[in-house]
């Protein structure tokens, strides 16, 4: 099936080469980092996790979001999602891949990564994270590929794939809960030490992930002959709406707990992030922007008439994605380290090599996404055009 990805238009190859260029640039800077050490980033003794782990945290959510499409279709027979289950699974694969790559580039001794498997430590959440991420990657590859092959042959998927699909559905929230547990069990960091972390993570995952799926559906509809279906996109929009409402509510719940109790361990990180602490406020514009985007997105999503307009929905999806990327990919991680355990403020800002390496990893993710989507849409075009003999339009 992969040979389908070797035949494409000039635009396709242009995109592939552009992404390879970004990957190459990121790789060169990674070699610099490998040589010099992680000091080449903006991380410090006080803020010891930064952009890389932030991106990993955000992308784990995006990866988990495939379940929002797969669950309604396989467990509740929601036929409208039939066409896009593979699209969702093929988004989960590069997302999980990027998660693992971000962890890899963040490690001080990456060549020792197998130590995690050679010396399993069940009481370490990070050990579990590695296991669940690896399995999720393999599951999605297996399920996506099998279902797509079956579609290509024009037969229903084989029955043995069903248990794997159910496994993937159960596993998807688990990858994100485990990632939330990385943060939510650390004594001393009160910004993170909250039961609602896991719930917040899931809510933001199920808003950011389906938003990205909506954006990708629009792109696929525009640039290929495959149409994911208007109703499917609208349902995704409804999912994003409710998940985003929950996400913002959870954040406000945290704000209440912090500022009504007035316990410094809880209030100081929020103060640092949203209004600055002791004259330090590098992240304030970022968090302000994220909040404004969240408000705008909620306005666009909650009003049904606006949500039904596809252009507005696409715009709302973009604002949700960016807002959550800033909040989870940056604010959440840094907020746990500022102020530090001595109640001092030491700020963090990513350096240029760090950003270029990050961009390189995103490049790898987008390249894998492009190739997988090329395979999926080409096969779906063949299959669906063959069955109906005409270009598919909006009916779901």
């Amino acid at each position: 099936m992969l040979e389908v990805a070797l035949k494409g238009s000039r635009r396709y190859w242009g995109l592939v080469i552009f992404l390879l260029g970004i990957i190459g640039l990121g790789f060169i800077f990674y070699l610099k980092q490998f040589n010099y050490g992680l000091g080449i980033t903006g991380m410090s003794r006080d803020v010891s996790w930064g952009f890389y782990i932030g991106q990993f945290t955000f992308l784990v959510g995006v990866a988990a979001a495939a379940v929002m499409v797969v669950l309604p279709y396989y467990l509740h027979n929601y036929k409208k999602f039939a066409r896009i289950t593979v699209i969702a699974e093929f988004l989960a694969i590069p997302s999980v891949l990027m998660c693992m790559l971000f962890i890899f580039v963040d490690m001080g001794q990456p060549l020792r990564v197998l130590n995690v498997l050679l010396h399993p430590t069940p009481n370490s959440v990070m050990f579990f994270d590695m296991i669940v991420l690896s399995f999720y990657l393999m599951l999605n590859l297996l399920v996506g590929w099998t279902v797509l092959s079956a579609e290509r042959k024009g037969t229903p998927p084989p029955t043995w794939i069903k248990p794997f699909i159910y496994w993937a559905i159960a596993w998807a929230p688990s990858i994100h809960i485990v990632t939330a547990f990385l943060y939510a069990g650390l004594p001393g960091r009160h910004y993170w030490l909250s039961a609602i972390m896991a719930a917040r993570f899931l809510a933001s995952a199920f808003s950011a992930g389906p938003s990205l799926i909506i954006i990708l559906c629009f792109i696929v509809r525009r640039y290929t002959k495959f149409d994911p279906g208007k109703e499917a996109i609208q349902t995704l929009g409804k999912i994003v709406t409710y998940a985003m409402i929950m996400n913002v509510l959870f954040l406000l719940f945290e704000v209440f707990t912090a500022f009504y109790s007035k316990i410094p361990g809880h209030t100081l990180p929020f103060t640092y992030l949203y209004s600055g602490l002791e004259g330090h406020g590098k992240l304030v514009p970022i968090m302000a922007f994220s909040s404004i985007l969240a408000a705008v997105s909620l306005f666009l999503l909650i009003i049904p008439k606006i949500r039904r307009n596809e252009k507005a929905l696409g715009f709302a999806a973009v604002t949700v994605f960016i807002s959550l990327w800033l909040d989870k990919g940056f604010g959440l991680v840094v907020g746990g380290f500022v102020p530090n355990m001595f109640e001092r403020v030491f700020e963090y800002w990513p350096t240029t090599p760090e950003l270029l390496i990050t961009l390189g990893v995103w490049g790898i993710g987008f390249l894998v996404l492009t190739i997988l989507y090329k395979v999926a849409t080409t096969i779906k075009e063949e299959v669906i055009l063959d069955k109906y003999g005409e270009k598919q339009v909006k009916s779901g």
Binding site: G37, R45, Q109, L118, T121, P187, G336, M341
Partner: protein, 258 residues
């Protein structure tokens, strides 16, 4: 017989996996040559069930504190990068508000407020850093010391996030050029691993007190908290002591007399 390309790859892949996997399994599961090796302990070694320390701030002055800190950093090849971003420190002074955040008050004794408290890894009895380490590179020894295995550390820095005391440092770059005088009898570290105070386990093994304790002129009392007859227990009985962030349940082994 004709075989499709796909079937060929499937068979070749399966053979490779079984072949390599089988050979590796045989090598790994073979009994090693050192199963029956003899090991013994240095007769001078200090033995304890739970090593702890009391920091008597009444007995410390700035010069002695500097000597304690330098003794540790010198014999353990702790580098001096000269900037707070890359900084590595195993033991250092903090004022009251920073060593015991949340316990300072506007009206407290000014003398105590500005006193430099010596802080180091608390060698907790219930260490969160050990709980989170994915490779057991940091682990708790039978004698209570929270140890670092530099060979196994993958540099994920989860332990640094978990430590409520900010006791751990990471080698953000190669430390060798920044070590003033190398102590040849102790290794340095390389970039990419986490380090912290390990209670001078190497000195305890040959019957010596930790370096900071030796230089402290009695201001640091080191001993076995589990031994009811030890000096440290007597000191703890005789004075009121506080520990850093004791409400977190980490059970620190370092006590402070103010």
């Amino acid at each position: 017989m004709s075989i499709s390309r796909r079937q060929f790859f499937k068979i070749a892949g399966a053979t490779a996996v079984i072949g390599l996997g089988g050979i590796s399994a045989i090598e790994i599961l073979q009994p090693g040559q050192f199963e029956a090796a003899q090991l013994s302990r240095n007769p001078k070694a200090l033995i304890g069930k739970r090593w702890g320390m009391v920091v008597d701030m009444k007995k410390f002055d700035e010069e002695t504190m500097k000597k304690s800190i330098n003794a540790c950093h010198r014999i353990h090849n702790v580098p001096d990068f000269g900037n707070p971003k890359d900084e590595i420190k195993w033991i250092w002074p903090e004022t009251f508000g920073h060593a015991f955040p949340g316990q300072e008050s506007k009206y407290m004794s000014e003398e105590i407020e500005h006193l430099p408290f010596l802080v180091l890894c608390n060698q907790c009895n219930n260490p969160p850093c050990v709980r989170v380490c994915p490779t057991k590179a940091t682990f708790k020894r039978a004698d209570g010391i929270v140890m670092m295995d530099m060979h196994r550390c993958i540099g994920c820095r989860f332990c640094m996030a978990a430590c409520p005391y900010g006791a751990r440092s990471f080698n953000w770059r190669d430390p060798r050029p920044f070590i003033k005088e190398e102590n040849k009898e102790y290794p340095t570290r390389m970039k990419g691993v986490v380090e912290k105070c390990t209670m001078c386990y190497e000195r305890l093994a040959v019957g010596l007190m930790p370096a900071c304790v030796e230089e402290s002129k009695g201001a640091l009392i080191f001993g076995d908290l589990d031994d009811p007859n030890s000096e440290i227990r007597k000191v703890l009985q005789a004075h009121y002591t506080i520990r850093r962030k004791s409400e977190l349940g980490t059970e620190p082994s370092v006590y402070y007399i103010i």
